[in-house]
């Protein structure tokens, strides 16, 4: 029919106009439709921007003492109230957020990178390498995290303190140790997924057209195992933030006057009744951060799930 022939080039034109579809543009397309995930992005974005640029706008120094304004509730002068020494909580939380977020995100980044690398190699190549890597994973799993962290800090803190200063030194130590001790579940997840996916037809197909091992791992299998990795990563962020605060109050974390969120929360615990604002704000920020990241993980998992794109 004439209409058919007339339509055909138009359709082709429409096809042509659509941007090229890639894994990531597809994912973004789906991700945008995940409302909670988008809310997570917005909230986390606000928190990150606030901690990065907030201290430039809110110029009250976080370490300033003001005994005349101790333990006052939220007010225009102190939006989040003050501590018992009159520290401005808003300034402390803005500043402390940099540390907590940096610790949480960096530690998790290290953990999932390591975990994915080990899991991918182990699952893809199998054999002796698999045996070796999995026994190594077992070994790491049996290490108690906190005692090891204490030992590492005890051994290396002074050295790093001399090299890069007390704050950066302890940062490097914490993220490295937390990262190096939490990659194992990720590695196992990734290995298991690799074992099942590497036998799938599309991998065989890729192999027959001559794709290299590296390309198969990175382009064909990895996107399919991203979802469990992301979920375990989101849980890890919260755990890392909390580990940092645990260390702070063992006296092994950052110096006590560095107001990471965990530290502020710890300081507040005895004042819960008389000054609830002191605990509520840092608690809320840890909560919002972890929740946002969790929802983002949720959204990403759905968006990156290859089966979903077929629906």
């Amino acid at each position: 029919m004439a209409t058919t022939t007339a339509n055909a080039p138009r359709l082709a034109e429409g096809e042509w106009r659509r941007p090229a579809r890639s894994l990531w543009s597809d994912a973004w397309h789906h991700f945008r439709r995940h409302r909670l995930a988008m809310a997570g992005v917005v909230v986390l974005g606000i928190i990150v921007v606030a901690t990065l640029f907030g201290p430039l706008l809110w110029t009250v120094p976080y370490q300033k003492l003001d005994y005349s304004a101790a333990l006052v509730g939220p007010s225009p002068a102190h939006p989040f109230g003050t501590t018992d020494l009159g520290h401005d909580l808003f300034a402390r939380i803005l500043w402390g957020g940099r540390i907590s977020l940096a610790v949480g995100l960096t530690a998790v980044l290290i953990a999932i990178s390591l975990g994915t690398l080990v899991g991918a190699l182990s699952g893809f190549f199998g054999g002796t390498l698999d045996d070796l890597l999995m026994r190594l994973t077992d070994m790491f799993l049996s290490l108690p995290q906190l005692p090891l962290l204490l030992l590492t800090i005890y051994l290396f803190r002074d050295m790093l303190r001399e090299l890069v200063g007390p704050e950066l030194g302890i940062f490097i130590l914490i993220v490295t140790v937390v990262g190096a001790l939490t990659w194992m579940p990720t590695a196992r997840l990734v290995r298991a997924s690799f074992l099942s996916i590497k036998r799938k037809e599309f991998v065989e197909a890729a192999r027959t057209v001559g794709a290299t091992d590296r390309r198969i791992i990175v382009r064909h299998i990895l996107p399919n195992v991203m979802s469990p990795v992301l979920v375990s990563a989101t849980i890890g962020v919260g755990a890392a933030i909390i580990t940092e605060s645990a260390l702070s109050f063992l006296g092994l974390g950052f110096p006590s006057d560095v107001p990471s969120w965990g530290r502020v929360l710890y300081d507040a615990q005895n004042f819960m009744e008389i000054a609830p604002h002191w605990a509520i704000f840092p608690g809320m920020f840890i909560f919002l951060t972890v929740l946002s990241i969790n929802y983002m993980g949720d959204g990403l998992r759905d968006a990156l799930d290859p089966r979903r794109t077929q629906r």
Binding site: Q63, K64, L65, Y67, A70, L71, D84, L85, H87, Q145, L146, Y154, D158, E162, P166, A239, I242, T243, A246, F249, L250, G251, L252, P255, S256, D257, D267, N270, F271, E273, I274
Partner: protein, 593 residues
């Protein structure tokens, strides 16, 4: 999750550490204050008991210590909690009252030079036991038990924690069945050192005669005693329950039928238990920020009051005279490596003048007061000269001026440089919310002087331990902060910490008491004079002089004079008399509701 449990365990350990310095505080005895004839014997140790008091009329008394009891024999005590829990059962010859003077317990009267009990040359003291005192198993208490206690404690293999107290005792002999003579190696200003207060608990020869020396560790864990109570059940690290000792010498006492001595938790939860829920009648050591504690006490339905007494314990900042720089390697902290800027008196004075004691004392509230003295505890020897010293006045402008005079000009980053060294201070203390706030306050002032301050908090167990580099004794920091004080009202053990010969090196495992590496020949001269002086008034004068010297030369910076005890008690509890020089439970037989 795992970390949480850890955190809690460590939090407890951390709070426990706060009073670490004060542990073992239980020591003995009293000044040589020659009591007016007969006063010591005639005056009852305790207030006249209320007429209605009757043995066992009260129900259960609950005592809470947030450190749990691990040993019930005072001579194997690991801390205040053990001395105190044992004290309900095992008694010394004499307790030490709030004024630091001995009060008879097992002794019939306090021996003095006037009544012939103390020898004219001050080397021996003769105690008479109360007649007809019986152990809880019904046998008589005799002087042989006292002699046995001495033998038990001083046997090295017994490993008694109280052995140090008896180091100067040359001999203990039974004169007759109820008389015992204690001879010291040299004339002493304090003949009441042995067998009094927490470290003087008399144990029964019959029960322990087969467990002296190396066998002590297999000895009975529950001692037979002479005190108002005997142990019904002892769960180490948890709880001790007591009931009335039927053999107790006073027919009308004690008032409470049973006592429960609980252990565990932390200072804040202990405060809640006595002040808010009323679950316990007595809560030990409420080391809680005043801002938290005060509302609990002042609440309209508050169930508690504070039980405090002036004590010799002073929270202080120690200033390191040696160089703690890690770059020195083995030479680090050795006394022959002078600190780059803290050896300058003007710098130390500037640091002292930048201390704002008001807000620091406010953190302690009812359990401490601002002080600029190092030797305190008794009004008679507390110096009155320090109040007018410039180093005791908070004056940032003057402090800045002193640093200018010392030639420490500010560098580009606003931090002063002293003879080529950037003035950076590493300021350490134990992990404790209260102490971290003190650090914040001090840091704020020192920062205004143009000094870079790095804070460090070390777990108390490590800080007061011997392992690692973060110990108070090694002092690999520029300044450190903790509480210390005399354990005896005579201050003998305490002032020794300031003499040059107490400066130790890595070779001696840093075992000396002079952590500051402060050596002042004038002070040593005063100290020598002090140790030889037996006249009380002159000794007090010398103590005040030594105090002024420490403060003026800024060997240490005194901050807060803490109370001891710092306990919370139920408002209904009567008859509690706090003393800094003995167990807080020393007169528990007189307590009532």
């Amino acid at each position: 999750m795992g970390t949480k449990i850890w955190s809690r365990a460590f939090a407890v350990a951390a709070v426990a550490g706060l009073t670490f310095a004060a542990c073992g505080q239980q020591a003995a005895p009293a000044a040589t204050a020659a009591p007016t004839a007969g006063a010591a014997t005639a005056a009852p140790a305790t207030p006249a008991p209320t007429a209605a008091v009757q043995r066992g009329a009260g129900g259960n008394l609950t005592i809470l210590y947030w450190q749990a009891v691990t040993a019930l024999i005072g001579h194997h005590a690991q801390g205040t909690k053990d001395y105190d829990a044992a004290r309900l059962v095992v008694e010394p010859l004499a307790s030490t009252g709030p004024d630091g003077k001995p009060v008879p317990a097992l002794a019939a009267e306090i021996p003095t030079k006037a009544n012939g009990g103390v020898s004219a040359d001050s080397t021996s003291i003769t105690w008479k036991l109360k007649p007809n005192v019986k152990w809880s198993d019904g046998t008589d208490v005799t002087s042989a038990d006292v002699v046995f206690t001495w033998k038990y404690v001083t046997n090295k293999e017994t490993a008694a924690t109280t052995a140090g107290v008896y180091a100067t005792v040359k001999n203990v002999e039974a004169v007759d069945k109820s008389t015992v003579k204690v001879t010291y190696a040299a004339p002493t200003s304090n003949p009441y050192l042995a067998f009094t207060a927490g470290t003087g608990q008399i144990i029964q020869e019959k029960q322990y005669k087969d467990f002296i020396g190396a066998k002590a560790k297999d000895g009975p864990k529950i001692p037979v005693g002479t005190g108002p109570y005997k142990v019904v059940q002892f769960k180490p690290n948890d709880v001790v329950t007591y009931e009335i000792n039927p053999q107790y010498r006073d027919a009308n006492k004690p008032f409470f039928k049973t006592v429960t001595f609980k252990g565990g938790g932390d200072a804040t939860s202990a405060a809640r238990a006595v002040c808010q829920t009323g679950d316990v009648d007595y809560a030990w050591n409420l080391q809680v920020e005043a801002a938290v504690l005060k509302p609990m006490i002042d609440a309209s339905d508050g169930k508690c009051k504070m039980n405090t007494a002036p004590s010799p314990n002073v929270e202080r900042i120690l200033i390191n005279r040696s160089n703690p720089a890690a770059s020195l390697g083995d030479k680090r902290g050795e006394p022959d490596q002078p600190h780059p800027f803290l050896t300058d008196l003007k710098v130390r004075q500037a640091l002292a003048m930048a201390i704002d004691r008001g807000p620091i004392a406010a953190l302690y509230g009812p359990t401490g007061s601002a002080t600029c003295n190092m030797i305190v505890g008794l009004e008679a020897y507390t110096s009155k000269n320090t109040a007018s010293m410039s180093v005791c006045k908070y004056d940032l402008a003057a402090a800045n001026k002193l640093l200018d005079e010392a030639g420490a000009a500010k560098g580009a980053d606003g931090i002063r440089v002293y003879k080529g060294t950037r003035m950076k201070i590493l300021y350490a203390t134990t992990v404790n919310p209260l102490r971290q706030k003190e650090q914040d306050i001090v840091k704020a002032s020192w920062t205004q002087l143009g000094i870079d301050v790095e804070l460090k908090a070390v777990a108390a167990g490590v800080f007061f331990g011997t392992e690692g580099n973060d110990t108070a004794a090694k002092f690999f920091f520029d300044v450190e902060m903790y509480t210390n004080g005399a354990s005896q009202i005579t201050q003998d053990d305490y002032v020794t910490n300031y003499i040059c010969s107490e400066i130790k090196t890595a070779k001696d495992k840093w075992s000396g008491g002079n952590y500051m590496r402060w050596c002042n020949k004038d002070f040593d001269a005063l100290y020598t004079q002090y140790t030889k002086e037996l006249d009380l008034a002159k000794r007090y004068e010398l103590l005040a002089k030594m105090n002024d010297m420490i403060v003026q030369d800024v060997a240490e910076i005194p901050l807060v004079n803490r109370t001891q005890p710092s306990d919370g008690i139920s408002k209904a509890l009567k008859g509690v008399i706090p003393t800094a020089w003995d167990s807080v439970l020393w007169n528990i037989a007189d307590w009532s509701k």
